[in-house]
Subunit: 188 residues, 2 copies
């Protein structure tokens, strides 16, 4: 019963934050939509930010799962990183992800790498780079820095795509450029 209430609030929060943004979402409306009051919300999540953090963690997990799957099915080596980046860009095209994880999340909760959810996507990128390094396919660069830059590039690409006139047409442009850019880390 209690876990179900939490889930309902989480789902309502996800919807409201995606549609109206963090500051635009009313906790009164949000809770009423699932037949509850603010009392339940503050009991489970502490405050408005707490709910956002929970929603972000959920979305982050889903994104990482997709990226990991994409990386695995692309086999090993350099193709895995490229596939992962492409998947990340695609995931970030989701309006929910965009608004909640990429825009409001950092503004309200601070730098993503400090989140308890520990930015699972960044972790994925790091792992891929480590694997490449072990295979001798990577230039000698700072892994952490490289992962950061790649992630940032992909993230910004997604923002660009979503705001563009024709997202479906922009997507491949970004993904192609990402591959070329990432090749900067490749041994020649």
């Amino acid at each position: 019963m209690m876990a179900e209430t939490r889930d309902r609030l989480l789902a309502a929060g996800r919807k409201a934050f995606a549609e109206k943004g963090f500051s635009g979402a009313s906790m009164d409306d949000l809770t009423a939509e699932v037949g509850l009051t603010r009392g339940a919300l503050y009991h489970h999540f502490g405050d408005k930010k707490g709910l956002l953090a929970a929603v972000v963690a959920q979305l982050d997990g889903e994104m990482a799962a997709r990226a990991m799957q994409a990386g695995e099915s692309a086999g090993t080596g350099w193709a895995a990183l490229e596939a992962q980046g492409a998947a990340y860009i695609e995931a970030a095209l989701d309006p929910e992800v965009q608004r909640i994880v990429l825009l409001d999340g950092p503004a309200v909760l601070g730098d993503p790498s400090q989140w308890p959810s520990q930015n699972a996507c960044l972790e994925e990128t790091r792992n891929a780079l480590i694997a490449l390094s072990a295979q001798g396919l990577l230039k000698s660069v700072d892994i952490e820095a490289a992962a950061r830059l790649l992630n940032g590039a992909a993230l910004n690409a997604a923002l660009w795509i979503a705001a563009s006139d024709d997202p479906p047409a922009t997507l491949p442009r970004a993904q192609e450029a990402f591959k070329v850019l990432a090749s900067g880390f490749m041994v020649r």
Copy 2:
């Protein structure tokens, strides 16, 4: 007289937004600090978002000026882009820039490329890439996409650096990695 009032409000907004974030900044407090009331603010900027937009435009202009100067003094060719990127990363280390332009700005005003201030830094990067392309030093990539990715990488690097334990030590790691990454766009 009137321009001076506007400037005072702008300065107060810049300070308040930097220190307390957008939602944390009170328009009452902010205006009182320069001996005015909210009436003046709404007269000059329309609403709270209007003030933020004006502050962002100001900061954006300053950043672009610094990046351009760095690019010019680095001479021509590939070094210019690298210097520009490094300057961008450094500029983004400023807490004011960080909080206002990189965090709250996108969350409140939406994608930076849609801002009236037209993200001057992105423009700089684009120009540098065009110059490189004309010199035949650039792989055949989508210029717009490339500029986006480079900018995103630099931006995220800045966020990482600022949140790190030892920013001064992290800075060179990021800048070095940026150079390596950017070389992905270089003809071999």
